[in-house]
């Protein structure tokens, strides 16, 4: 079933057209990967799925993006959308507060005040991010004291805390070491049964390891979008083949 439908989307930064005529269906409970060289538009598309592009001045979008058949640019408030479509950024960005407060922040802003309920959410979110045992004894310590990999998993736990339906990840492991990367990949595969996951990655092995569908982007266009297995073994487009075999990019 399609969770997100992208229909004829064009996006402009001022005069520059960053996305050209994008059409795509993103399925529930799958991991969809966006790959392509830098500047190809993959992150731009990802960010427009929860309207983080609204923060940038001069962005114009036409076409439609539907979440459960509701137009996310017309019929839904940005903060409601972002609660349903969470995001994990390229650079781990925990808030400068305690580990506990980092995870509790989201539910608090959405009106949950009861201490016991917050405690539950914090524990569940950290468990879901497979880091509860690592941090349960230092929940009151600053999140900035964690390692980069732990910080990124904390950010994933934080994304879980508001109970989203979709999780967007923008090159979440590009700043991390191989072991932390593996932990996060395992985690994503583990949780996809409950979520719809879209990940931008510059790492093609990562896409093949974890994703069900892959989209290859070039110059703002989707060159090819197919099952990951098929796209990497029998690409239909010559450019896709050149890219995945390392001839450019």
């Amino acid at each position: 079933m399609s969770k997100i439908k992208i229909e004829d989307v064009n996006l402009y930064y001022g005069e520059f057209q960053a996305l050209k005529n994008i059409n795509m269906n993103i399925k529930e409970n799958e991991i969809t990967a966006f790959i392509g060289p830098s500047g190809c538009g993959k992150s731009t598309l990802l960010k427009s799925l929860n309207r983080m592009n609204d923060l940038i001045e001069g962005v114009k979008i036409n076409g439609r993006m539907l979440l459960d058949d509701v137009d996310i640019y017309k019929d839904i408030d940005a903060s409601v959308l972002r609660k349903r479509v969470g995001m994990v950024f390229q650079k781990p960005n925990p808030f400068p507060m305690s580990i506990y407060e980092n995870v509790a922040y989201g539910p608090k802003t959405h009106g949950i005040k009861q201490r016991s309920k917050l405690d539950d959410i914090v524990e569940q979110s950290l468990r879901a991010a497979a880091m509860w045992d690592e941090v349960k004894d230092r929940l009151k310590k600053s999140a900035l004291g964690l390692s980069g990999g732990q910080q990124q998993r904390l950010c994933i736990a934080r994304a879980f805390s508001v109970n989203p339906e979709v999780i967007l990840l923008d090159e979440p492991t590009s700043a991390l070491d191989p072991i932390s990367t593996m932990k996060i990949e395992d985690l994503l595969v583990d949780i996809k049964k409950n979520y719809t996951i879209v990940i931008v990655t510059h790492n093609m092995q990562q896409a093949t390891r974890i994703s069900d569908k892959t989209g290859f982007f070039l110059h703002g266009e989707v060159v090819e979008f197919d099952d990951t297995e098929k796209l990497f073994s029998m690409p239909e487009n010559k450019k896709t083949e050149d890219y995945i075999t390392g001839r450019f990019g």
Binding site: M52, F89, M97, Y105
Partner: protein
């Protein structure tokens, strides 16, 4: 030959730099020495407890009485009032300039704030005398020269300090914090007040302490609007005149002599202690900040 010449000019420049650094240090030491050498004996003669805990200031009576408690309390009240007025307004203004201000408005608002910093204190004093004092007189009674009028003027005077330092510290909060908060579905207002402002808190505290420093030390504007009467402690009221440490010095310096003059310098020593406390607080904030 050439290299010796280069060497020589380098040495010369080094000496110039040293000398420049030395001059500012010498200035600080000279001021401290002057204050302490002339002020401490006076405090000794009056007695420290008598000096800072007695509210009776009658330097020309016989026998004279040199108690500055009323001025210490006056400076404290006036400064607290300035903080109560200046900090909320300044902080909100900084938040607005850094996060909500459209470019076109910023082009006007920012220079306006900078201009506020450049206005001489005598002009603030005049404005207070001609506008604020009459306004208070007509609306709240009394003669208008009061703690409140001084607090209002000082509250305005510390705005540029609070605004510009807070604004730049708000701007230096990484955008990634904001993205993280917005990405969780928080609104922009929630994000600014719950994430950005707390992350900028050391800059905000710094701005408040510098603002306090300015308010404690300000003389000219205060002397024009405070009324300058030495009030017994139980008569100190928001709408009544007040004398601060600084205005005590400036109103009596021209005719004081002997122990009276020395006691004014000793008033300066007390003021100096206030400033040292503030500077210590400032460096505590900075070291704590550096640790994080």
């Amino acid at each position: 030959m050439q290299s010796t010449k280069a060497n020589y000019s380098e040495k010369l420049m080094q000496a110039v730099f040293y000398l420049s650094a030395l001059i500012s240090i010498i200035a600080v030491i000279a001021i401290c020495l002057f204050l302490l050498l002339r002020g401490i004996p006076a405090i000794g003669e009056i007695g420290i407890m008598e000096f800072i805990l007695n509210e009776k200031w009658k330097p020309t009576d016989y026998p004279p009485s040199y108690g500055i408690l009323s001025m210490i309390v006056g400076s404290t009240y006036v400064t607290a009032g300035a903080i109560a007025i200046g900090v909320p307004i300044g902080l909100m203004c900084a938040v607005f300039l850094a996060k909500f201000c459209p470019d076109t408005v910023y082009k006007i608002a920012k220079p306006a704030v900078n201009l506020l910093a450049g206005i001489p204190s005598i002009v603030y004093g005049f404005f207070g005398m001609e506008v604020i004092v009459p306004f208070l007189r007509e609306n709240f009674g009394g003669n208008g020269f009061s703690i409140l009028s001084s607090s209002i003027i000082l509250g305005i005077m510390i705005l540029p300090t609070i605004i510009s330092i807070s604004e730049s510290s708000i701007r230096s909060v990484p955008l990634s914090y904001e993205e993280g908060s917005l990405g969780l579905g928080a609104t922009k207002e929630e994000t600014v007040f719950k994430i950005v402002l707390p992350a900028a808190k050391s800059g905000v505290f710094t701005s408040i302490i510098l603002g306090i420093g300015r308010a404690v030390g300000e003389t000219m504007a205060v002397v024009m609007v405070a009324g300058n009467a030495v009030m017994p402690l139980d008569k100190i009221k928001l709408l009544k005149p007040i004398r601060t440490l600084t205005t005590n010095i400036v109103t009596e310096m021209s005719y004081a002599s002997g122990l009276h003059e020395e006691s004014l310098i000793a008033t300066g020593v007390v003021l100096f202690v206030f400033i040292i406390i503030l500077n210590t607080a400032l460096s505590l904030i900075k070291t704590r900040d550096a640790k994080n």
